[in-house]
């Protein structure tokens, strides 16, 4: 990162900003962790419904594909958006680190 070159790495404002960003990320992680480690069992009604009606409603024998492309295709759309942004971000980082700046 070019902050090291210009010497503003140890500026007080920069460290405060990065400390605040770190605290915010840790708080978000704790909130999400609370949602994951709850003691709720998986819903048995959804499990039975997918097994009974999956093939005839979506037409796919592969029930995994029927779920993530048929019943929950909106989550697949979100996954595709995440993939697009990840590729764009990774390409941007590669381009920034490799070309010489004038």
């Amino acid at each position: 990162m070019n902050l090291r070159e210009t010497g503003t790495w140890f500026a007080r404002g920069e460290r405060a900003r990065r400390g605040l960003a770190l605290i915010l990320v840790l708080c978000t992680g704790l909130v999400l962790l609370d949602g994951v480690t709850a003691d709720t069992p998986p819903p048995q009604e959804a499990h039975d419904y997918y097994l009974r009606r999956g093939v005839e409603e979506t037409g796919a024998i592969n029930l995994v594909s029927a779920i993530y492309l048929g019943y929950r295709a909106f989550d697949t759309l979100g996954e595709t958006i995440v993939f697009l942004v990840a590729i764009a971000g990774a390409l941007y980082m590669v381009e920034e680190g490799s070309e010489s700046r004038p």
Partner: protein
């Protein structure tokens, strides 16, 4: 890659078409056997990496320019949005199945999942191969 041995080049050149074909198989049979869009896209990208290993970066760059691959990726994403909008225009919900469901495991019924598999596979394959083509290039 500064030095490429004979064995690596030979094996990669012989394997690349079969791996690309296998990737297309995994994508198109996503509704029958395990696989689908994401998995088949990764196999397609590994086939393109085998092409780079077998021939070098410059011939593969002539075959698949980076602009075309990026354009294919954005086209696949817009096609995915278009399939969702077709559900809206067909009188149902967003991303709803717009094909008639009469016989299981045939194209009219499973056509929506089949189309989604193709689009997602193209997108994932183009994205991963774009990253790999960019990283293999050394100036």
């Amino acid at each position: 890659m500064t030095r490429r041995t004979e064995i690596l080049g030979l094996v990669a050149r012989k394997l690349a078409p079969f791996v690309l074909l296998f990737g297309c198989y995994v994508i198109s049979h996503g509704h029958v056997s395990p696989g689908g869009g994401f998995q088949g896209g990764a196999v397609l990208a590994s086939g393109i990496i085998l092409l780079v290993l077998g021939r070098g970066v410059a011939p593969t760059e002539r075959l698949l320019p980076a602009r075309w691959v990026a354009f294919a990726e954005t086209c696949a994403f817009c096609l995915l949005l278009g399939l969702g909008m077709a559900g809206l225009l067909g009188g149902g919900r967003f991303l709803e199945n717009t094909f008639p469901t009469t016989h299981p495991d045939e194209i009219p019924t499973v056509g929506f999942i089949f189309a989604l598999n193709l689009v997602v596979g193209l997108k994932v394959g183009a994205g991963i191969s774009l990253i790999c083509l960019r990283l293999f290039k050394e100036d």
